[in-house]
Assembly symmetry: D2
Homo-oligomer: 139 residues x 4
């Protein structure tokens, strides 16, 4: 993966205002694997005070989408065709870390998974898993 390839991922991420609203940042970009972290901001909570499923979903989905983008030719973007999330534990802790991975690359469909962990004092708890399909679209 060239610096130029990595740059296009960072540029696309920077253009997602939702990621900024959620305080999310791109922490690693490798071939077929991308990590995004986000704090549980006061404005990202559900009714019990934990992180909203929408927060966990948003970073899990974006990490999976960018993982797909790492394996596509330049001049493409991806959109989510479908994705499913199983929530395993409440989203609480210092921050959430989503790890998206490519399971099956493809020019028409790219199958991806994502895991979301909550980090507390450096310890990770798996709080959600996602499985979905990304579709390449021209930039």
């Amino acid at each position: 993966m060239t610096d130029q390839d990595r740059d296009r991922i960072y540029q696309s991420f920077a253009a997602q205002s939702m990621m900024q609203t959620l305080g999310a940042e791109l922490i690693t970009v490798e071939d077929g694997q991308v990590r995004i972290a986000a704090p549980i901001l006061p404005g990202s909570r559900q009714q019990q005070g934990f992180g909203h499923a929408g927060l966990t979903f948003s970073i899990g989905d974006s990490a999976a989408g960018y993982a797909a983008l790492t394996v596509l030719p330049r001049g493409q973007e991806v959109v989510t065709a479908e994705i499913k999330i199983n929530l395993l534990a409440p989203a609480r802790g210092d921050r959430l870390i989503a790890t998206g991975r490519v399971v099956k690359p493809g020019n028409r469909l790219c199958v991806v998974t994502s895991e979301v962990h909550a980090e507390t004092d450096g310890e990770l708890t798996l709080i959600a898993i996602l499985q979905g399909t990304m579709v390449p679209v021209p930039t």
Copy 2:
């Protein structure tokens, strides 16, 4: 559905700071069906300028969760066990409207669906469908 029942839904919704961040509001609460609307705020976008999948998911998931809550005894909350979203069209327009419905109520598991439409000049376009499972938890 009594006013008291409806009130607890509105109170729970008001406690979800994520809904305020997204500018979402609860527009109808009926037995087994709840509607939530949200604009596509400047801070809720993906890289192409459309609404982020996380926005569509968040209101679709919350509408489905509150639909489940309308059919549960008082003193319960619900959490999402799992939910899947198929995205059909870009999220663009004046606002998004999510309609959550109960398909199968239950004390252990409540199966729900949600449809999300984009509204432009009063016309609705279906942009996403969701299918999931809500689980009752004590308040």
Copy 3:
């Protein structure tokens, strides 16, 4: 829908040996909607004696796939890219009836749903819902 269009669905269905193994038959074929019925054969059971989830899935998935095929140009087949099933009640009764419907047609992806009912003495109980994506492929 012409007789010729309907014929290609029946021919494709007849070529699915799995449908014969399960005793399934195509009962209605309309634009965007297909119904398949199957008995709960002695060889289609799970460990408690009810119909196996694989039976419910197989007819639900096939009904959705053929619903997609009704809205595609001739010379195409469809394959399932992904599908999710929520099981609502045990599969028991005289027969199961799956109704597949097209939610969003498309040349690259076709989003579908399916409902499976169990019929007992003419009464229908909803036992499963499915939501998925079909992909057109050349014949």
Copy 4:
């Protein structure tokens, strides 16, 4: 895992007539992981002659269910609440092998995944991934 625990899995599997119809056999049973293999019988095909999605689903779902059962107290069975399958490649080869795993055990809900490989001349190709929820029920 005691021999008695392993026996109850084999007994439950033997009671699933669908598994016999599909020619499936339980090949390994470990704590939190179960493998099921099945040939692509002449009666398990879709219209192009590959294994039907219902075959891949049936063994993937059963492997995941039995993986869940390995981590539950005795006197319980499991049923599938919901499960999603992404199909990655045609089901062709000498046999299919499904590996079910427990991601998150629980008394109310058990989150599971399953991978299905096709084996040809000893080489494995990943053809499907599943992600779902199993629910314990009394025997």
